[in-house]
């Protein structure tokens, strides 16, 4: 348990050190980012909305996500801390400057609507409970305790998950359960994901997808 926590902490230090260090050294530029994002639009779409693909691999919305968070994920794909065959190939095409550029480009887009939230009321109610209050009897802390009051993200470490595609959230929670994703700081997401049932995952993913995020 202790060694796991410490290694999680080291991973965090490395990851953030790289991402933050480069963010400080390199300034992102949205125009350059648009030019570099030519390969991204096939899946993530021109408006950054991504796509919910039921039963397949859903592509996350990037529009309005925190720039440092996007940059860290791209570095994590390149450097083997996050695993996805398609993203490994595409992230490898970007250099450090292009990573901050596309990150800034997508972060400035207005948040788009998400799909996959159209489920029955009982499931939505369970999802709302998990997102806003958690289920402490199972020691599942609420999403909002880290992802912010409306689950729109907190700082650079905790991404916005409101108005994200249900299929994507589901697949990520399952990846954490199976130890296929572990690039979260200190295993904060992994520890909670492993306590969630299949139904919990479907419920919370659908509810989050059903939420709209007001543009600023």
């Amino acid at each position: 348990m202790t060694s796991k926590r410490i290694s999680g902490g080291l991973g965090l230090l490395l990851g953030v050190g790289l991402a933050a260090g480069q963010a400080m050294a390199l300034e992102g530029d949205a125009e350059r980012g648009q030019a570099a994002a030519g390969t991204c639009v096939a899946c993530h779409q021109a408006d950054g909305s991504g796509m919910n693909v039921p039963g397949g691999e859903s592509w996350p919305r990037l529009a309005g996500m925190d720039a440092d968070y996007i940059a860290k994920q791209l570095h994590d794909f390149k450097e083997g801390r996050r695993h996805n065959a398609s993203m490994l190939a595409f992230a490898n095409m970007l250099d450090d400057q292009q990573i901050v550029d596309v990150a800034v480009y997508y972060s400035q887009m207005p948040v788009t609507a998400a799909q996959g939230g159209d489920v029955d009321d009982d499931l939505l109610a369970r999802g709302e409970q998990l997102a806003l209050r958690g289920d402490w009897d199972e020691y599942i802390v609420s999403c909002k305790s880290c992802h912010g009051p409306r689950n729109e993200g907190a700082g650079s470490h905790f991404p916005g998950i409101s108005s994200q595609h249900a299929g994507y959230i589901e697949s990520q929670l399952r990846a954490w359960q199976a130890d296929e994703r572990s690039n979260d700081p200190q295993n904060l997401m992994g520890a909670v994901a492993k306590r969630m049932s299949d139904e919990d995952i479907r419920a919370v993913s659908a509810w989050l997808a059903s939420q709209s995020v007001a543009s600023e």
Partner: protein, 348 residues
């Protein structure tokens, strides 16, 4: 939905047989322990001891399903809302960046996280901190004066009534003035190690806590909204709050942090982080007499002998030797601090 079942000493059989046949004890435990308690035991919390009072508070979903009068439900909901978003009283009763639920996790229901229902069934009772008998309202008022670095809503006010109603709702079904010790009450501290290390505490804090609470202890307030509470500094609880006692902080950390990974830090780590955090500055104790040594002398025996108040800080300075009251400044004085009670009875 019998979520609010109260179980009295029903672990006797499980504990007795545990020492004899492990397999049997598991089966018996499964039958006798509430699932919420099983979850805790699975995470490494102690199992209930023989004769302990185990109370599982009802949830807000149970409230909706209950037969209480609709207006009573409204008031309990209002209490829940104040408890979990105490920042709505900012500038009126609250002058820091905290909510009640910042420290009382699980919305005040969670064992080992100072579950608040216990106050509703053990008060009125004598309290050493202010040397008289306190009821639930006065106990909550204390939280506003110290933990929220503010001044309480009036006794009998709508907000105070709503908060007490929420506490009492969580106590539903628990015996009043219980003779049994309460399972998971307060923030039970792990055993104190022989040596506490500030340096180790600092390193552990940076590694385990700073991602949410920030290296400078400021927590995170983003776009004018509460996200993560500050463990020290002007946005935190003042020097008079229970959590400044190092053993209380160690108990909070061991049992609750990092969020979602309770009991993952060793006892030494929890104490070192608590020691580091308790050695930082925060707003002055409202009981301050104008002199830190005098204040320490007066409130040391009942309180500050467990805190680092008036002790030497990390840079050789005396901790709390200042008149910084935080955001409330020196205009706002918590009206409840130092308010006497039953003076005539005491004189007899």
């Amino acid at each position: 939905m019998k979520q609010h079942r109260t179980i009295l000493g029903r672990t006797t059989l499980a504990l007795t047989s545990a020492t004899l046949v492990a397999g049997v004890s598991l089966a018996v435990s499964a039958e006798t322990l509430h699932p919420a308690v099983e979850t805790l035991v699975g995470l490494g919390y102690p199992a209930p001891q023989e004769g302990e009072l185990v109370h599982i508070p009802p949830t807000m979903a149970d409230l909706e399903a209950s037969d209480l009068h609709p207006e009573t439900k409204q008031v309990i909901r209002r209490g829940y809302d104040l408890f979990t978003n105490t920042q709505q009283l900012r500038g009126e009763n609250v002058y820091n960046d905290m909510n009640c639920s910042s420290c009382h996790l699980g919305e005040g229901r969670q064992p080992f996280s100072a579950p608040v229902w216990a106050a509703a069934v053990t008060l009125p009772n004598y309290r050493g901190k202010n040397d008289h008998v306190n009821n639930l309202e006065e106990r909550i008022a204390g939280c506003f004066a110290y933990s929220m670095n503010g001044t309480p809503p009036e006794y009998g006010s709508d907000d105070m009534l709503a908060l007490t109603a929420y506490h009492q709702w969580l106590a539903k079904g628990a015996p009043v003035y219980p003779d049994q010790p309460i399972y998971g009450r307060g923030f039970p501290p792990p055993e104190r190690p022989d040596e506490l290390s500030y340096e180790s505490g600092e390193a552990l804090y940076v590694e385990n806590c700073a991602i949410c609470h920030s290296e400078d202890g400021a927590g995170l307030y983003q776009d004018g909204e509460y996200i993560f509470p500050p463990p020290w500094g002007d946005g935190s609880n003042n020097w008079g709050a229970g959590l400044v006692r190092v053993f209380t902080a160690a108990g909070f950390i061991k049992n609750n942090m990092p969020l979602g990974q309770p009991m993952s830090l060793s006892d030494q780590e929890a104490w070192d982080i608590a020691y580091y955090m308790s050695s930082q500055e925060r707003p002055q104790d409202p009981r301050y007499t104008g002199d830190v040594a005098e204040t320490l002398e007066r409130f040391g025996p009942t309180f500050h002998r467990h805190s680092r108040y008036g002790q030497e800080g990390p840079d050789g300075e005396v901790l709390a030797d200042h008149a910084n009251w935080g955001e409330k400044g020196d205009e706002v004085k918590p009206w409840n601090v130092g308010q006497p009670r039953f003076e005539e009875l005491k004189a007899q």
